[in-house]
Every structure is written in structure tokens, then in C-alpha cells.
Amino acid sequence: MQLARVIGTVVATVKTPGLEGVKLLVIQPLDRHLVPVGSQLVAADAVHMAGPGELVYFVAAREAAEAMPDRFVPVDHAIVGIVDAVRSLASDDPAEGPRPPATAQPATKSSPPRRARKAGRP
């Protein structure tokens, strides 16, 4: 399974039997830091609730069809969950989710010099 971002929908009126009512979404696979990796895919939505912009995880190969109501359908990628958060277990490697409030301190410190540099530019 891999992470992906839903980036669009596919509308197809003529489909093979078994795919009626199956929502097809365009997804962009992501690495674990949520950076796009690889080419975009069309995946069936097995949770019926995914929409554009959402972070999801998908399963590939034969197991994608297992996620569908009819198990013998020509589906090779299926969205099987919507991600609430990716929690990194290493403290130095935050992927997504709430960050500790202590990290706000360096940001305020660095902003005055940034503004000064901008003002100094001709």
C-alpha cells in the first residue's frame, strides 16, 4: 500500500460490467514525506468517500479488485482508506500531523532578518 493524493475524477459512461457505480479518481502517488513520486493513476474508490484534495492510501494489483463489492472486476488500483494523519515514530522526522508547539520559537526569531533583507534590496 502507498500514500496518494486525489487530484481529479474520471467520468466514464461506457464501462465493463461490474464497474457500474464505481467511482474512478485520478491519484498522484506520494512518498512518505508526502512528496509526489511516480506517475498519476486512475484508481477505483472502494471507500465511496474520497474526493479531490484528500490524502488516501491505495492498494495495487489483484488485491484492488478484492476491495470492490464485486470481486471479479477489472480494477488494478483501489483507494482503501482516507488518511487522517501520518505519524512519524522518529522524533526528528515529522511527516504530517500536529507538530510540537516548541518549533514555533525559531520561526519568530528568523523573521526579522528576512524582512530586513527585503527592505535592503534596491
Binding site: 500500500m1 471507500v47 482503501v80 505519524r87 522518529a90
Partner: protein, 93 residues
């Protein structure tokens, strides 16, 4: 099977029913010497693996469903072991 290191978890409330109650681990794939080889996988935990542990990942659907005892589940990748050591003459340090 593949060697990997557990680096995170995926929290999800809306998912396919077969995922209910299962822990999803984000695992960086490793080469036999323990260095990350680039990719990652989200795997269902079956052994209680924790942060930073080197694990054995199974990436095949029929075996995964057999391990989980869940026929028909859309699950292909499972953590099936916690690795203590990898040894061998060809394994570079």
C-alpha cells in the same frame, strides 16, 4: 519477503471494512546491510512491531490474507516478523 524499518503509522478512520482494528505501519525498505534502499510501504502489522524496529515484510496477497485469516481482504502487504540480525558473507556492512 523484504527487509524494512518501521518509521511511522497511518491513522485512518474511513477505510475498507477489512482494515478496521488493524495497525498500519509506514516502513522504509532496507537493503540487507540495513541501509534504506529508497522505497517505502504501508503494511498491516501482525507481530506488534514498534518504532525503529527492523521487520520482515510480506508483499503478496494470498499469503497476506492467509496470515491475517481474512479471506477476501484487500490487503497485500503485512509485517510478519521482527528481525534480530542479518548475517552472511555477502552482506556488506
Amino acid at each position: 519477503m523484504k527487509l524494512a524499518r518501521v518509521v511511522g503509522t497511518v491513522v485512518s478512520t474511513i477505510n475498507a471494512p477489512d482494515f478496521d482494528g488493524r495497525t498500519l505501519l509506514v516502513c522504509d525498505l532496507l537493503d540487507p546491510s540495513g541501509r534504506p534502499s529508497g522505497g517505502y510501504m504501508i503494511a498491516v502489522d501482525t507481530v506488534g512491531a514498534g518504532a525503529g524496529e527492523t521487520v520482515l515484510i510480506l508483499d503478496e496477497g494470498n499469503s497476506a490474507r492467509q496470515v491475517l485469516g481474512a479471506p477476501g481482504a484487500p490487503i497485500r502487504t503485512v509485517v510478519v516478523g521482527i528481525v534480530d540480525a542479518v548475517t552472511g558473507e555477502e552482506v556488506s556492512k
